[in-house]
Point group: C2
Chain length 77, copies 2
Amino acid sequence: MAQSIFYHAGCPVCVSAEHDIVALIGKNNVDIVHLGEQKNKIAEAESRGVKSVPALITPNGNVLHINFGASLADVRG
Amino acid sequence: MAQSIFYHAGCPVCVSAEHDIVALIGKNNVDIVHLGEQKNKIAEAESRGVKSVPALITPNGNVLHINFGASLADVRG
C-alpha cells in the first residue's frame, strides 16, 4: 500500500487521532509530520488541501480532516 | 483487529470518505452504517459520541469525525 501522510501539531486532539490512525492503518503505512516542529512543511500541507490539523492525506491524495485540533493559521502562529 | 464502525448518510462527502476508509483499513475491518436508511441507529451513533457524518468509531471506541457532510440533526430530518 502506498504511503499516507498524517499532519499534526502536537495538540491533544492530534495526538489522540495519531494513535487511532496508527492503530488502524499501521505505522509502516503512514508518515507522521509534526507541523509545529517542521514549519517549513506548512506550505506543502496547505498545497495538498490541508486546512486544519490533524489531517490525513490518503495514498490517492484525498484529504481527511479528522476532528479538529487547530487551523493551519494557528499552527503558523 | 476488532471492528470499526463507519457512520454515514449517503452524502457526497460521506461516500468519498467511505471509499478512502475502506481502502485504508480494509472492508472486512469496518461495518458501514447508512444512517439515512437506518434511522433507528441514529440514537446509537449519538450515544457513541457521533456529532456529524461521516464518522468512524475506532475499535477502542474513539470517534473520528472525518471532514463534514451533515450534522446528526440534519440526518434525523
